[in-house]
């Protein structure tokens, strides 16, 4: 039978607020256990939540970025369940009145097609703490530093059809929230986590099949792999005439398989009700408009501009626009150089290579966009040749200086284009290497092009920064004179 895959993602993104959603404690990652949990985060008797308006502003910003309806009245509810790292015995979330309603994003597929994926909603909620199972001799430790960190849970419509699409969707969301600065996007620290709902149905059937939920997948690659593994598992069962159990599963990246976490056959009854400690959050259109004013140019718009206004290819534009820091770096350098294509080549070439080699982000690289821009400028006005430019670039990356023009001087990279000066150097090179000249002259006419190579190398060695174009011409002339 032919099966259709139905995928929906629930992405949890931690909002980049300084303090927690309902308390004044810091949200910084990596502190000693339980040092960033105040009485509110610990759920002590008598404490009350106070809503952090910064979290509201960020959620609204996100909603506007995905062209969603903004909930002018949103309401916090209590979701009741017992779990050791949920200190109050309930999670404060938004059930019926989320801050962000129906919106959408566009994802690009490999074939260059664009697909619009609808986003059902995004609501504000608090993160839980963490249970630590190692190092407590058979017991569990609880770290509540993360408890109360603001999250938006972004729920997609079940419109994704392949694991690749799901990964592209996750990537695009990552790109959007980091562009907006509402989430730091650090997947390794759990700043963004993805739950994947996967089900299969016979092609043409309208009714959904039974779904499973793969919890907490935390990389783009694993989203794709986990979903594919789950599709395969479900298909095997269905092809054999079996039934899928509605359950929560975990992805084991080492074995590339999903396994059941806990059965949801008996649906958990969370006994939601409006939180009586928090007033409904009421905002007006003026507030929304003011937040709209602060929206940066988003990846899609930036990509289109790179393509249409600056002549970049669709692929280059997409790669450069996907990450805001990289895009900013690129564009700053491009503007200084006055050449977007040249800058695009450099950023995707040497800059990307350096980032990969050093395993750092663009802002941690030892070279600024301004410095790269200056290097490109010097290429453009022929002060530097390509090799010289790379040398300056590498010197900067290795922290050997920070003044581009100074480095050009101290490394003697200034390109010599003056024909008279080059003639002198070439004459010297030819005089110093009579055997090579002999060999050259003995070379048949049609192979002389190649045989000129050693002279070019020697000339450039003798005088760094000679313009190779000019060297070629002078050499050709001089050798012809000889033979």
């Amino acid at each position: 039978m032919e099966w259709e895959v139905v995928i929906g993602l629930e992405i949890h993104a931690q909002l980049a607020t300084k303090s927690k959603i309902f308390s004044g404690a810091s949200t910084a990652y990596g502190a000693e256990a339980n040092t960033q949990a105040c009485a509110v985060d610990l759920g002590l008797p008598g404490v009350l939540p106070v809503f952090n308006e910064e979290a509201l502003r960020m959620a609204v910003k996100f909603g506007l970025a995905i062209d969603a309806e903004i909930g002018l009245k949103s309401v916090f509810d209590r979701k009741n369940y017992f779990y050791p790292d949920s200190p109050k015995g309930y999670q404060t979330t938004q059930l019926h009145h989320p801050i962000v309603g129906m919106g959408h994003i566009d994802i690009e597929l490999d074939d260059g097609e664009t697909r619009r994926i609808n986003v059902t909603r995004a609501h504000l909620e608090e993160d839980a703490g963490k249970s630590v199972h190692e190092g407590f001799s058979g017991m569990s430790g609880i770290d509540l530093n993360r408890a109360g960190t603001p999250l938006i849970e972004i729920v997609s419509e079940p419109e994704l059809r392949t694991a690749k699409e799901a990964a592209a969707y996750f990537k695009k969301m990552h790109s959007i929230v980091t562009y907006l600065g509402v989430c730091d996007g650090d997947l390794s620290q759990g700043s963004m986590r993805c739950d994947c709902n996967v089900s299969l149905r016979p092609k043409g059937q309208e009714e959904f099949g039974t779904r499973t939920e793969i919890k907490n997948v935390n990389s783009f690659r694993n989203v794709e792999r986990a979903i594919n593994a789950e599709i395969e598992r479900q298909m095997d069962i269905l092809e054999d005439g079996g039934v899928i159990l509605q359950e929560t599963r975990l992805y084991d990246a080492d074995k590339n398989e999903t396994r059941a976490m806990r059965s949801k056959e008996v649906e958990n009854d969370y006994r939601y009700f409006p939180c009586p400690d928090l007033l409904p959050v009421i905002i007006d259109q003026d507030y929304v408009d003011a937040v709209k004013e602060t929206l940066p140019e988003l990846p899609d718009a930036k990509k289109a501009r790179f393509e249409n206004d600056h002549g970049l290819s669709a692929t280059d534009a997409a790669v450069l626009a996907a990450n805001r820091d990289l895009a900013d770096f690129f564009e700053t350098a491009a503007k200084i150089a006055g050449d977007y294509k040249l800058a695009a080549n450099w950023v995707q070439g040497d800059v990307s290579a350096a980032l990969n080699r050093l395993e750092v982000g663009i802002n941690e690289l030892n070279i600024t966009a301004e410095q790269l821009g200056r290097i490109l400028q010097l290429i453009k006005d022929s002060t530097l040749n390509n090799g010289g430019a790379k040398e300056v670039f590498n010197a900067l990356v290795e922290g050997k200086g920070d003044d581009v023009d100074g480095l050009v001087d101290s490394l003697g990279l200034k390109q010599v284009s003056d024909t008279g000066a080059i003639e002198e150097i070439v004459a010297q090179v030819l005089a110093d290497n009579p055997k090579l000249v002999e060999g050259y002259l003995a070379t048949p006419e049609e192979k002389r092009g190649k045989a000129m190579g050693p002279f070019i190398g020697l000339t450039r060695k003798a005088a760094k920064g000679v313009n190779p174009q000019v060297v070629m011409e002078v050499l050709k002339k001089k050798l012809e004179e000889l033979g």
């Binding site: 009485a39 610990l42 759920g43 002590l44 008797p45 008598g46 404490v47 009350l48 939540p49 106070v50 809503f51 209590r78 009741n80 017992f82 050791p84 200190p87 109050k88 015995g89 309930y90 569990s140 609880i142 649906e267 009854d269 006994r271 939601y272 009700f273 009586p276 400690d277 928090l278 007033l279």
Partner: protein, 484 residues
């Protein structure tokens, strides 16, 4: 000295008649002597009290005393107090020391008040007789075979027995007014949002409100001057100026319109009880007030509504008492499930468990609309009754409770009978209105309370009306036998 009111002590301290240390020492001795029989305190903080008294005396000497500096009082054990046990009357919190002070406690500390300790209460404020306290029932000073009312029975009994001139309390469905009535003292529950709930252990968050237990209305006004404040830490606290509640106590009440809801003068309330309340109304008429019969047609729905809303909220509020981070934990838990089940099973008393179960049921899938949602709709109707009524009247008056103090055990096997104790007080909480009980007579030597219900944030007016009544009568001066 123990018969002195807060106002009198404040004046005496200012005049140098005696020091805070002297009256604090005197009252601590009295607590030691009398409270064995009453059990109104869970924790007596003798050392801290004497230190606070000493600090108060020094502050006075330094010339920056407030009207409260050096005045002794006590806190209901529902308010968190830094470094002192806060048990909420439960085994669950029998070892709980809060690392912070409730805003109410902080306000009194800042004013220089001296706290003698923490008063007994029904477990997690769930009860109308103080019989659900893990620390044993409080006895009514008027008759120690009888209950003091609840849940703030400890505060009411301590004030009635002249152990302290005033105490904080909380009221979710009548927990200030009913024990005040049964112990013959004055109890005020302010408008919801008037006093911060920060640090007040939640029973039902949308109904809970802190208030006062005193012998006189004047003292209640003095307490309100300290307690009422805007607090950013409580999102439901209302930002609104706090008037000087003592400044309007003596205003004339001539022309004031009193509404008497027919639904509150029911046939099943004894004729003697009703007579005491009628006598009080007659007193008001003598002072120039007008009386108007009114109707609050949804009154009969208030008890059932309350017993959906309050348990629902408490079922979530009490989830944090799980034995994991603080409070009671069972011995040798096998796993986390066992730790939860036994810690909660052993830590909570029966009434608390009953309400958690009722609440969880009311919120469960498939029942939510029929119970919780419906209750919220009815709650609006009840509120609207009052909004309508206050278009025509200034104050609503009624009996505070259907009966005077009853005997221990009389209603413990019949939860519904116990719940009906709050039949006249509960609607006020559902509507969020301020209410007060003042002593207005006696039946069989037991005090009877008159309830005054005011419009939103109109505490000053009911305090004014209550004070005028106490100027004209002496019910509030009567003390239980053997207490004088």
């Amino acid at each position: 000295m123990h018969n002195k009111t807060i106002a009198e002590i404040s004046r005496d301290l200012a005049a140098g008649e005696y020091s805070s240390t002297e009256i604090t020492t005197d009252l601590l001795a009295r607590v030691k002597d009398l409270d064995k029989g009453l059990n109104s305190f869970i924790t007596v903080t003798e050392e801290q009290a004497l230190a606070q008294a000493k600090a108060a005396d020094e502050r006075r000497a330094a010339g920056n005393a407030t009207p409260w500096t050096g005045v002794p009082m006590a806190h209901k054990d529902i308010f968190c107090t830094k470094g002192v046990l806060t048990t909420c009357g439960s085994k669950m919190l029998s070892n709980f020391e809060a690392p912070y002070d409730a805003t109410v406690v902080e306000n009194f500390n800042n004013a220089g008040a001296v706290s003698l300790g923490k008063t007994n209460m029904d477990e997690f404020a769930m009860g109308s007789s103080n019989e659900t306290s893990y620390f044993g029932p409080v006895k009514n000073p008027w008759d120690t075979d009888r209950v003091p009312g609840g849940s703030s029975g400890g505060s009411a009994a301590a004030v009635a027995a002249r152990l302290v001139p005033g105490a904080t309390a909380t009221d979710t469905g009548g927990s200030i007014r009913q024990p005040a009535a049964l112990c013959g003292i004055t109890g005020l529950k302010p408008t919801y949002g008037r006093v911060s709930r920060w640090g007040m252990i939640a029973f039902a968050s949308s109904l809970d409100q802190a208030g006062t237990m005193t012998r006189t209305v004047e003292d209640s006004a003095m307490m309100m001057n300290v307690m009422a404040s805007f607090d950013k830490k409580d999102s439901t606290c209302v930002e609104r100026d706090v008037p000087d509640y003592t400044s309007t106590l003596n205003d004339s009440i001539e022309g004031m319109t009193i509404g008497l809801p027919t639904e509150y003068f029911r046939d099943d309330i004894s004729a003697e009880m009703q007579q005491q309340v009628r006598n009080a109304i007659a007193e008001y008429e003598k002072m120039g007030a007008k009386v108007k019969e009114i109707s609050l047609p949804n009154t009969h729905l208030s008890v059932p509504t309350y017993y959906v809303v309050a348990p629902a909220e408490c079922s979530a509020n009490l989830s944090r008492m799980d034995g994991v981070r603080f409070g009671y934990r069972c011995e040798d838990p096998k796993d986390i499930e066992d730790l939860y089940c036994r810690s909660r099973g052993e830590g909570f008393g029966n009434e608390v468990k009953r309400r958690i179960m009722v609440g969880a049921y009311a919120l469960s899938a498939g029942f939510y609309d029929a119970y919780y949602k419906k209750a919220q709709q009815v709650r609006r109707l009840i509120k609207n009754d009052f909004v309508e009524a206050f278009k025509d009247v200034d104050v609503i008056m009624s009996p505070t409770s259907p009966t005077p103090a009853f005997k221990f055990g009389e209603k413990t096997d019949d939860p519904v009978a116990m719940y009906l104790e709050d039949i006249f007080t509960i609607a006020t909480n559902l509507a969020g209105l301020p209410g007060m009980s003042v002593p207005c007579g006696q039946v069989n030597n037991l005090p009877v309370g008159l309830q005054l219900i005011g419009n939103y944030f109109d505490e000053a007016r009911i305090l004014n009306a209550g004070h005028k009544f106490q100027q004209a009568t002496d019910w509030h001066l009567k003390a239980p036998q053997g207490i004088e």
